[in-house]
Amino acid sequence: MFLTLEKLKKVAEVAKIEVKKIEEEFFLTKVNEELSILDMILEVDTTNYTPMVNPNESTQLEEHKDEVNDGNNIEDLMNNAPESLYNYFAVPKVIKQMEE
């Protein structure tokens, strides 16, 4: 597998990570180095095998009561906010002008 620059940019957009122009070659090279060994797994015959999502497949997921058992820690949570106001998380104002 091999990514073109265009594909890398699409992946970066999905990942929501900015790739600056000067970084493009670096990431293109490094990502493609990783992907270069990938195709080896295509040769494996996995007919009759189902995907294994988790090593503990037999674990039963338990339901719990729909009860609040934590919270009331607004101060703790707001302390980590990059910006907050009146116990709201504040974000930069980004309002686009409607095109006429």
Binding site: M1, L3, K7, L8, V11, A12, V14, A15, K16, I17, E18, V19, K20, E23, F26, F27, K30, V31, E33, E34, L35, S36, I37, L38, M40, I41, L42, V44, T46, Y49, T50, P51, M52, V53, N54, P55, N56, T59, L61, E62, H64, D70, N73, D76, L77, N79, N80, A81, P82, E83, F89, V91, P92, V94, K96
Partner: protein, 488 residues
């Protein structure tokens, strides 16, 4: 009396019970060691005042004969475990000033047992790496040096800060996490015992997630007995972790038994004769095989033909899971947010994450999202998950014939930090080579332990690995003890 900072947990416990020294004195000894070893950069956050406060409480507990299992034992915590009120960073700029409002289950269990936290240790950013050189807070340096080459060496990773702290006697033991070898490999690089329990034994609640179907908390300690004690404490069902196993935790310490006569040890045919193993490591591995046989166990060759796909599987599945897990770091509710001007919410995300993550993390996230794309998901991701099942079956078949499996922990001796500056992402062969023997254990969710052999002729540590059947930590601890008794 042995210098306080060189005590094992067992010795420290006995000393405290017999009142040979106080918890405060023990803690002070380690605080001093930490101050003397700052050049190794093992810590992201030191907590000496908190440690001394806890030590005073522990001394009162001893006076009242109310001491708990780990009362007064100074330890360090990998900075991937959320510790309430204490900064937890994952060694990333994006969480540089993050202070959790909750405690991880593993550290809560240690607290309930009375341990003393000396600080949060350095790691590869978001646990992605095997050298502890990708941290936003700088690399950690191994306390070991090559006999003739004076360059600073890597302690391994990603739990390198924990490894260095224990190995340099800055604490008695440490927690780590292991997603593809991140406890076992640094243990091997720093002459320690490192254990990764069965996936689901120790709760992942409160551990910042890397790859959710691989991650597991574990222990780095100076010997097998200390490791057994701590593994018992950190394991146990947790309803807050949906992958936690509802199984009893055995009394690992009490059941330690180095008598391995009649036991069968599997040697993996596909791993024998790999030419990339360092000859010094090979020498120790072969010596360990002799010890095993002299102790009365039998070596049996097993074939595990699908193990060769392990590094690729890791790349596809673990990076895919990581890409998803790291989506939460968006600069909105917590963590770093870009100061640059933005013109949309997406722009805020892009710039924040672009500035907040290191290049190694970004690279892995790009690979991961690529694996999860609609054109690749079925062809690669699902295919990898099917091969995962094949590897799991390879292990199951092997355990029909043997009690444990045995490999070197890492094919490499510890290497110079400066070699990693360009090469962290460059030579994927050696990157994967570092964890070649370790990764399959995470793929199958099995328990694995690294125990130290003799130092090599370069005066460097060499570790060997035992892999146990599911939930059979006891066997690998027992085998570890057998090796330890012959080596020390």
């Amino acid at each position: 009396m042995t210098e306080l900072s060189k005590l094992t947990m067992k010795q420290a416990r006995e000393g405290l019970v017999k009142k040979k020294f106080t918890c405060v004195e023990l803690t002070e000894a380690f605080i001093k060691k930490i101050e003397e070893n700052r050049n190794l950069n093992a810590f992201i956050t030191e907590t000496p005042e908190l440690a001394l406060e806890s030590a005073k409480i522990s001394d009162e507990k001893f006076l009242g004969n109310d001491n708990r299992k780990l009362e007064g034992i100074p330890m360090v915590i990998k900075d991937l475990f959320c510790t309430k009120g204490i900064r937890t960073t994952a060694a990333s700029k994006i969480l540089e000033n993050y202070i959790p409002s909750y405690e991880s289950t593993v550290t809560q269990k240690l607290s309930d047992a009375g341990y003393i936290m000396l600080g949060k240790t350095n790691l590869d950013e978001f646990a992605m790496g095997s050298t502890t050189t990708t941290s936003y807070f700088g690399p950690t340096v191994s306390p070991f040096k090559h006999k003739s080459d004076k360059r600073s060496l890597v302690p391994g990773g990603s739990s390198g800060g924990s490894a260095t702290a224990v190995s340099a006697n800055m604490c008695i033991a440490a927690t780590g996490t292991d997603t593809g070898g991140s406890i076992r490999q640094p243990a091997a690089f720093t002459n320690l015992v490192g254990i990764k329990p069965t996936y689901g034994r120790a709760s992942r609640f409160g551990i910042m997630a890397f790859a959710s179907s691989f991650d597991q908390a574990g222990i780095l300690a100076k010997n097998v007995t200390d490791t057994a004690i701590l593994t018992e404490v950190i394991c146990g069902y947790d309803h807050k972790d949906s992958t936690s196993l509802k199984v009893q935790v055995p009394e690992f310490e009490k059941n330690l038994n180095s008598d391995i006569r009649g036991k069968k040890v599997g040697i993996i045919k596909e791993f024998e004769g790999i030419d990339k193993i360092n000859p010094e490591i090979l020498k120790q591995y072969e010596l360990a095989k002799k010890i095993i046989q002299e102790r009365g166990a039998k070596l049996i060759e097993v074939s595990m033909p699908n193990l060769k796909y392990s590094p690729i599987l890791y790349m596809v599945i673990a990076y895919g899971e990581a890409a998803s897990n790291l989506s939460r770091y968006d600069g909105i509710k917590y963590g770093f947010r870009t100061k640059e001007k933005v013109d949309s919410l997406d722009d805020l995300y892009r710039k924040t994450r672009g500035e907040g993550f290191c290049r190694n993390v970004k690279k892995r996230v790009f690979v991961g999202w690529n694996m999860l794309s609609s054109e690749n998901y079925e062809k690669y991701f699902l295919q990898a998950q099917k091969i995962r099942r094949m590897i799991f079956e390879d292990f199951q078949n092997a355990f029909k014939k043997v009690d444990v499996l045995f490999t070197p922990t890492s094919p490499n001796e510890p290497f110079a930090i400066e070699l990693t500056k360009e090469e962290i992402d460059a030579d994927i062969t050696s990157n994967y080579l570092n964890d070649l023997f370790a990764i399959p254990v995470n793929i199958a969710g099995l328990p694995g332990i690294s125990v130290p052999m003799n130092l090599t002729s370069n005066n460097l540590p060499a570790g060997v690995q035992f892999i146990g059947n599911r939930l059979d930590e006891q066997s690998i601890l027992n085998f570890g003890l057998a090796i330890e008794e012959e080596v020390k």
